[in-house]
């Protein structure tokens, strides 16, 4: 909302001048027409590519999700049956799809807070230290730029039952570590821990940038007023970071909803489907050649992403202007009443 008004305001400034000048005579300025033509010409290559390779396939796959298209139909893609919402109904009834939906939600509700907490914690600490800041920043960011497959392969060995690093370390203190990735209860959390370790670097950089925009004076003033460290974090840092936190929650959330590579490399979706995600399910269905069914599954995921983003905007985004506006209004009303 704020974005539209900002964009339109300079335009509004122009309008009286150009609109007022041209409206009596319906004369079209030839230079403007030429400019428009040039603009279209320049935009054409992108537009065509976008239509052919982005919008086209997106619409085609959406259409496909309402048909029973299978791989054997590729020679005559239009000779398929239109099945309406059958694919979607079948998905909701499919016990495997239900299971992978629960798994994906687990990835989301466990993964996002963990990743954000890690990132925020490290960002706050990095914001305090003066020396070696660059070193730590690069160090924590490094996993993000490392190939996800390489990371997964290495972690697979860390988690190994016999001779894995974690279990070896546990054995030093006399504990017998479990088979992390072969347990239906531990495999999914194990993957989340690894994913959080790999992903928090991006958020850390963003949070760090956010922290540096908080004016020092505010913290100093609060300190003078006797606020504790936790109090300053809770009532100054967190509220000031809200827009940044929202951004972080949205991109991390979308990432976790599409959880795939880690499970693909480390557990193959097992044991007993306990780490299989919706994306993995869709991948399997495409592999089996059930194109219509797979397309429907991916549109359900898309819907989930849209919903999640909407919910996050509601929870984290609008809360900070709406109530404050309302409060401001109330306060003003109260003042007026007091005055009268």
């Amino acid at each position: 909302m704020t974005a539209t008004t900002e964009v339109s305001s300079p335009d509004r400034g122009h309008k009286p001048r150009s609109g007022g000048g041209s409206s009596p005579s319906r004369h079209v300025d030839p230079t403007r027409r030429q400019q428009a033509l040039a603009a279209w010409m320049l935009a054409l290559p992108f537009t065509l590519l976008f239509l052919a390779f982005t919008l086209g396939p997106v619409l085609a796959s959406f259409g496909m999700s309402f048909t029973d298209m299978r791989r054997a139909d590729i020679r005559s893609p239009f000779a398929v049956q239109f099945v309406g919402l059958d694919n979607y109904v079948k998905l909701i009834e499919d016990p495997v799809f239900r299971k992978v939906t629960v798994n994906t939600l687990l990835y989301l509700v466990l993964g996002v807070p963990l990743t954000m907490a890690l990132a925020l914690g490290v960002a706050v600490l990095l914001n305090r230290i003066v020396r070696f800041k660059g070193f730590f920043r690069v160090g924590y960011y490094l996993p993000v730029v490392t190939s996800i497959v390489a990371v997964s392969v290495v972690w697979k060995y860390l988690y190994r039952d016999n001779g894995g690093v974690f279990n070896t370390m546990l054995s030093w203190v006399g504990l017998d570590g479990p088979a992390w990735l072969d347990s239906t209860t531990l495999a999914l959390p194990s993957l989340i821990v690894m994913a959080a370790w790999r992903n928090f670097g991006t958020l850390m950089i963003i949070f760090l940038a956010g922290l540096q925009t908080i004016p020092k004076e505010m913290n100093e003033a609060a300190e003078v007023d006797g606020a504790t460290g936790w109090g300053r974090f809770r009532y100054i840092t967190l509220p000031m970071l809200r827009p940044v936190l929202l951004f972080g929650a949205v991109i991390t959330g979308i990432g976790y909803l599409q959880f795939f590579e880690e499970a693909f490399v480390m557990t193959k979706g097992g044991p007993l489907d306990s780490t299989r995600s919706v994306t993995y399910f869709t991948f399997d269905q495409f592999g089996f050649g059930n194109f219509g069914y797979a397309a429907a599954a991916s549109y359900l995921l898309f819907l989930a992403v849209v919903l999640l983003t909407f919910v996050q905007f509601r929870l984290l985004g609008e809360r900070d202007d709406k109530p404050s506006k309302r409060q401001a209004k109330k306060a003003e009303q109260a003042r007026k009443e007091a005055l009268s």
Binding site: T4, D11, F66, I74, V80, G270, P271, L272, F288
Partner: protein
Amino acid sequence: MNRSRKPAIRRPLVAMTTAALALTMTLGACGRDEGGGAAEGQGEAISEGKASGSIEVWAMGTEGDVLGDFVSDFSDANPDADVKVTAIPWEAAHDKIANAIASGETPDVTLVGTTWMGEFAESGGIDPTPEGLVDEADFFEGAWDSTEVGGTSYGVPWYVETRVLYYRTDLAEKAGWDEPPASWDELKQFATDLQDKAGVEYGISLPAGGGGSWQTFMPFAWSNGASLTNEDGTEYTIDSPEMTEALEYYKSFFDDGQSSTALLDAGELESGFADGTFGSFISGPWHTGLVEDAGVKEDQYAVVPLPGKDSAPGTSFTGGGDLAVFSDSDNKDGAWKFVQWLSEPETQQAFYDEVGDLPAVKSAWDTGELADDPQLQIFGQQLESALAPPAVPTWEEVAAAVDSEIEKATKGDSDPADAVSAMQKQAASIGTGL
């Protein structure tokens, strides 16, 4: 204000109109042709005489690398024919063939993994084998079956592989076994003795689940008389007492701690076989090289045919590669003649000498190294009693369902009878796709 907002409203409108258009186009053109590729007769016999014209061939892996030089004999005998071999990697092969079929821009001949035959035949992309091109009886039965989709053959088996029992002879002797196990009861006892008397951690390594575990489980079921489909391949017949009994037997190895339920990493099986963690396992011919690389000496292990339930020999799984000719090929006559040449016993034997692929033609095993090497003879013997999965387009999906039910049974999540009926239920709902 007004002006700047307008496009914002119009844009989704345009998108929606386009979407609606796309949808109507899909709708308008819908309706599936009845029948499809399968259930047609064999192709017409090819002409007499020599092959001519250009023959483009796709082959994967080692076969693709070697075939180019290997065809010189064919070129000598058919001077007018020009064979061009393109090597493509196995990982990309399936999609490449599927895309070629979809676009109609295909080569003439291709190597096809046996489990893909159903799908490509059903899509109408590959041609039925011409009448009289080869004699079905020359090939191993399981290998030939992999080319038959809905009763019609769509290609010729090229090479085969089958699964046998690998075991550590030195450890078996320590456990008091001079002879390999020959029945289910003996195999079970064998695994127990290897653990109790020879100190191995797991008597046998069987996959507890995960991709492809059906290839190890099905031999037990087949040996017990179970079948995946009926004779015509039109209906699944998974839910049977024989299948349940086989799964109960398979599960017992996990319940009794004779096989690990953990997912093995690449290389873990071979190194475990070398250091005595695993006493035995079931796999194909490629493992002879792998276990020797891992440090198992040739006199430390042996391969034997899979034990049957009682005294009868066990039935194993067979896979491999078939040769198929594309429907869109411009030179089908030449292409089939090339396929015919590759399936002659002498060519098959020469190809074994070149790359070590086991010949699909039985008579190729009668002479040369294949006849003399005792280890190879085991594979030859097992091939006489080996089955292929049904060649239906949906097999991979059914196999995934079977894999996941096997895992539920071995890990105690469901009991074998329920697992087997769940396999049947899922397979029936997936259908054969024919």
